[in-house]
Structures are given as C-alpha cells and as structure tokens.
C-alpha cells in the first residue's frame, strides 16, 4: 500500500534472538516495503520461523529492534500488533464453528463492532476464500484445504497491515498446494497488503513472491527477486538451495573480476562466470562452480556434442527420472561423481531417451557456468 509513502511495513534493525546462548536469528537486517510479497526461505532450523514470530510478537528480540510501520514494537504484546498470522497446521479453534473462528479477531476489536457488522465481514471473508455458506460447519468437518482457507479468512478479516504465513501450504497435497499458490498470489495483489511467507520449499518461494529472503543458520544469506537468486547466487549455499545445481568445489587456479577457474585431475581446467564480482578472489582461494542441469547437454557416446560446448566429458547413465516435459538424468563420471542433466522433451521424442547403463557424451559451455565464492 502506498498511502504510507516510503515508510516500510516491517523493518528489522540488527535484531537477534538467542535461546540460552544459541542464536536462532543473528543480526537480522531486513526492510519489507509496503505491499510486498516477501518469502523467507531456508532449510529447517535456519531461523525463518523465529523471524516470523518476532514480527508477530510471540518472541522478543534479545537485541536489536523491530519496527512495524516505523514504530518500534519491541514492547508491544502480540495482541496489540496490527499483523495477523496464518499458522502452520492452521491453529483453528476446534470448539468453534467456521464463522466463530473467523469472527474471533473481530470480536476483540475496540471500539466494538456490532453483530450485524461482524456477520457481514465474516460473510465477506468467506466469499474471499471461496467458502460461502460454510460458516456453520465445525472445524473437524472441513478438509485440509478448506481449513487452510478458514485460517486465511480468520487472519484477513481483521484487515491487517501485514499478513504472516508460516508454512501455510505444507500440509496440502501437491495439486491443492499449486492452486493455493496462485490464489495467495492473486489475493495479495487484490488486497495490496504486505505478505510475509515462511517456507522451506524453494519452488513455493520462487513462484509466489516478489522478494525472496534466503536464510541459513540464523542469518540472511541473500535477498532479492527469485531470478536474482537463481541467476546470481551469492554463494555455494544459495546455488545449491535455489534450484538444482551440480556443485564442483575446488581451489581457484586463476581468477579475475569476471571469471574463475579450477583444475581437476583427469579433466583439466573448468571455469565459470563470477556472480559476486565485488568480492575479491585470488588464486589459491576456495571457489565453487555451479553447473545447472539445464546447461548440461547429453548425446549417445556414438555421437558428437555440439561445437559450441567447450567442456566435453564421457560417462554412463545411472538413473533417469521422467518429469513429463523434462527428463532428468544422473550421469556417472569417474572424477566428478554423479552429474545431473535435464533434457527437454524432443518434438518427436526419439533420440532424447537414454536407458540406465547407456554410455553417453556430455558437456557444457563454460560461459553458462557460475563461479561462487
């Protein structure tokens, strides 16, 4: 929302949260502009849920400060914060009906809302999440997907400045999850309020959010659009976590501002484009090359790879996973180990298919490889 001008909806200022000396969140600095769909992505234990609970007020920062709409909320209890949360497993009140669950927050509003107003807004919220007429149902009568929507309605009905979502789709099956991803995205656009979503699922984060904030071990590793994270991973962790990647770690034999090279026994020189050109890198320092599966070309060993590929290797197919439009191959190479390659389906479908045990030639263009430090 732009009516607050340039004041960000949420701001972490060097916020840390320690549990008995163990840092769950360390020196967290993050600005979430109004109207953003932000995903906090990270493996379990990375501190992403803690950062969300810090915003909601269930946890207090050990040091640093948190601001909501420019106001420090460190001493504000959760029930006085203008944010609402969709909980993992929903945390719906089992002793109340759907309508009572949704009305729960409205009944806490001061000045009081009259019953007609509450009923009207509950009805609206049910419409919004496409559950009209479900108000009198008991929670246990609702399916997982429906409960998800009730949880969403229960939070949104309060018209919060910020909606927090803690792994909201984790319990849903794949089809439903994809539908909900689209719905959440369009809801966020429709309402224009800030969404902060916590997830361990990189696809979910990438597909829905404007900004992805990747966390590891309590710290922010990289923040940016999904494409930035994919194309210019800040380090090997990002490259490995965001999208699939073949990571080849080594010691830089040569490096300049734009490229870095390593030498592997039995292969020779491998090189890639540096993603973080600001960071100095000298020969002798550790560097990791990230080879995305989609840049790996594969042909039968009897054929020759395209002329544009400067890296040419040979291996044997050890596994094949059919993904519909794509096929993923695991190729064994004596030095690199297993290398992942993805081939899109050919129009005729003929030559693209390899079987387990097939000898293949594979390779890539060094210009497509990323070198992360």
């Amino acid at each position: 929302m732009s009516d607050h001008g340039s004041v960000p909806d949420i701001e972490f200022r060097s916020a840390s949260k320690h549990y008995g000396g163990v840092a769950a969140v360390e020196k967290f600095d993050l600005v979430v502009e109004a109207g953003t769909f932000l995903s906090i992505l990270g493996p379990s234990g990375s501190g992403k849920t803690t950062s969300l609970r810090l915003i909601a007020g269930f946890e207090q920062p050990t040091s640093g400060d948190i601001l909501i709409r420019g106001q420090s909320v460190t001493d504000v209890p959760p029930y006085r914060r203008a944010v609402n949360m969709v909980f993992q497993h929903y945390a719906l009140f089992p002793h109340m009906t759907v309508a009572q669950n949704i009305a729960y927050g409205l009944r806490n509003q001061r000045p009081r809302l009259d019953n007609a107003e509450i009923a009207r807004r509950v009805g609206e919220a049910l419409e919004l999440v496409q559950l009209p007429g479900f108000g009198d149902r008991r929670i246990f009568q609702m399916s997982g997907g429906q409960q998800q929507r009730v949880a969403l309605a229960r939070a949104l009905v309060n018209r919060p400045n910020v909606l927090l979502l803690d792994e909201p789709l984790a319990a849903l099956d794949r089809k439903l999850r994809e539908d909900m991803q689209h719905e959440l995205q369009s809801l966020q656009r429709e309402l224009g309020i800030t969404f902060v979503l916590v997830t361990h699922d990189q696809e979910e984060a990438m597909s829905m959010s404007d900004v992805v904030c990747l966390m590891n071990k309590g710290r922010i590793v990289q923040k940016g659009s999904a494409q930035e994270l994919y194309d210019r991973p800040a380090d090997a962790f990002v490259a490995g976590f965001v999208g699939k990647s073949n990571l080849i770690a080594g010691t830089a034999t040569a490096a300049d501002g734009t490229t870095a090279s390593i030498v592997m026994d039995g292969i020779g020189r491998l090189s890639g484009q540096r993603t973080n050109q600001a960071a100095p890198l000298a020969a002798g320092q550790a560097v990791t090359l990230s080879v995305r599966p989609e840049i790996v070309a594969v042909v039968p060993s009897t054929q020759t790879l395209g002329q544009d590929l400067d890296i040419r290797l040979e291996g044997r197919i050890v596994n094949r996973i059919f993904l519909g439009d794509l096929t993923e191959y695991r190729i064994h190479h004596p030095v690199l180990g297993n290398v992942l390659a993805r081939r899109s389906r050919q129009a005729d479908g003929s030559a693209s298919s390899f079987e387990k045990g097939d000898a293949v030639a594979f390779g890539w263009r060094s210009a497509d490889v990323l070198a992360v430090s």
């Binding site: 909601a56 959760p78 029930y79 909980f87 002793h95 009572q100 729960y104 009944r107 806490n108 939070a155």
Partner: protein, 293 residues
C-alpha cells in the same frame, strides 16, 4: 460353494470368539451390577425383620419414611456439589500451573507430588486433619494471633476442607491432562487475533479444558455423594451424609429395606444431577464462543 461355506464358518467362529471375549464383562456386569441392583430393588419394597435385617413384603412405606433422613440428603446435596466446586477452583490453577507454566523437566515430578498422598491411607490422613483442626491445632495458632474461640472440627467447614483435600488429586489429574494436550499454538493464534492473556484463557483454554473439568467433577462428585468417612471423622457425627445414614442403616440399626430404598434414591438423585450437569456443561462449552461479548 466350499468357499462360501468356509466364510460362513469363519463368520460363526468369529461371533463365537466375540461372545467368549465379551463373556467376562457381561458376567461382571450381571453379577456385580444388575444382580445387586435387583436385590436392592426387592429389598427396598420389604420390611425390617423383627430383630433387624429384611423381611419379605410388598410395600412402599420405606420410601414414605425417607423423609426421616432428609437432613442427610440435604447435607449431601449441599456439600457434595460445594466440595466439587471448591475442588475445581483449587485444582484448576494447580493443574494449569503444572501443565502450562512448569518446565517439562519438573512437570511429572511435581505431578507425582500431587498424587503422593494417595500412597497413605485416607483414614490416617483424615485423622491427621482431626488433630490439625482440633483445639490444639489451627485454632490454637489463630488464638495466638488474636482470634480466640474458633471451632473448626465438627463443622461443615472441616468436612468441606477434608473432602476437598482428599479428592483434589482426582480433580487435578484430568484437568492436567486436558490442559497439557491443549495445542499451545491456539493461544498464539488467540493472541495474534487480539486477545489479551485473560481473554485467551476464557475463550480458548477454559472451553478446551472443560472435558477435563467435567471428568474430574464427575469423579469427585460421585465419590462425594457416597462419602461417609470424612463427615464422620471431621464432622463429629453432626454432619451426616447419605453415606453415613446408609452405614448406619446396614451396620447399626439393621434396617435393610430402608437402607435399600435410600441407596436406590441416592442412585436416582445422582443420575438426575449428573445428567443435568453434563447437559449444562456441554451446552456451555458448545455455546461458549457464540455468546462472546
């Protein structure tokens, strides 16, 4: 054909097994519940024998003379619910503290402490209360700080104290269980939706722990309705429960028919009260959130 035969044999064998498995329970119910009940019904329609006991008859006069034990009924029907209510009020905060506030490391150790008194006979513990509440106990302490001449023993207060003390663990345990299995995220959700801690407690914790309260109350209430030890020791024979009246009728005055009529009446009174109680609490827990202010 053979297959069909086999399955029908199978089915018959299954039902035989089921019957065998159920037989002990059925026998138990019949011998220890139904049969004694029938005996009590028959006895309640009889007459006291010339030297006591039972003499066959078909009369309702035992029921007609129940009025002579009105005070016992009144005491029981006043003090049993009062004792139950006070038990809830005392046990709930304790159970809440144990289930919610205490760190899990200490929780079960402390819970054992709650149950610990059960390891000693109730008789001994009630005797201990007799000494505590007698003239040389608490009243002497109160006298020392300027409240002389307070009699505690042999009063309804002493009986209430005794029964609350004796039955509180039975109340704490079910409430503890219902509070402990309460999903703490629901409280986060309530706070997130703007509820102060007190309001979260009233709208979420309390209704969701109500099954524990109901279970505990029923346990305590049913036992209290049949209580006789504590009133006779701490009430000095002046605060008489139905249980005392029954002991008296069977063990002293040997008026079995009147005792049977009283037992039966007690069972009916209890059924009515318990039904009412369960109906009301269930209605309350269902209607709780609807009637929020």
């Amino acid at each position: 054909m053979t297959a069909a035969l086999a399955t029908s044999n199978e089915g018959r064998r299954k039902s035989v097994v089921t019957a065998l498995l159920l037989a002990p329970t059925a026998l138990w119910f019949f011998v220890l519940l139904i049969l004694p009940m029938l005996v009590i019904i028959v006895f309640s329609l009889g007459e006291r024998g010339p030297v006591g006991g039972y003499q066959a008859a078909l009369t309702l006069k035992q029921y007609a003379s129940l009025g002579s034990r009105l005070a016992a009924f009144k005491n029981t029907i006043m003090l049993a619910p009062a004792g139950t209510l006070i038990s809830v009020l005392v046990a709930y905060p304790l159970a809440y503290f144990l289930a919610v506030k205490v760190s899990p490391r200490w929780r079960y150790g402390l819970l054992v402490l709650v149950v610990l008194p059960f390891w000693t006979s109730l008789l001994v513990r009630t005797y201990a209360w007799m000494f505590i509440l007698s003239g040389k106990g608490l009243p002497a302490l109160l006298a020392a700080i300027g409240f002389p001449e307070i009699q505690m023993i042999n009063t309804p207060f002493a009986v209430l104290l005794g029964i609350v003390y004796a039955y509180m663990p039975l109340m704490v345990l079910p409430i503890f269980v219902s509070l402990e299995k309460l999903d703490k995220r629901l409280l986060d959700a309530a706070a997130d939706l703007g509820s102060s801690p007190l309001r979260s407690f009233l709208t979420v914790t309390l209704p969701l722990s109500l099954p524990g309260v109901v279970t505990g109350s029923l346990l305590v209430f049913i036992l209290l309705m049949g209580e006789f030890l504590i009133p006779s020791l701490l009430g000095g024979g002046k605060i008489f429960f139905i249980g005392n009246a029954l002991v008296d009728l069977f063990l002293q005055s040997r008026n079995w028919p009147l005792g049977a009529a009283m037992s039966l009446t007690l069972v009916i009174v209890m059924l009515v009260l318990i039904t009412l109680y369960v109906r009301l609490t269930m209605a309350a827990s269902a209607g709780k959130s609807r009637s929020l202010p």
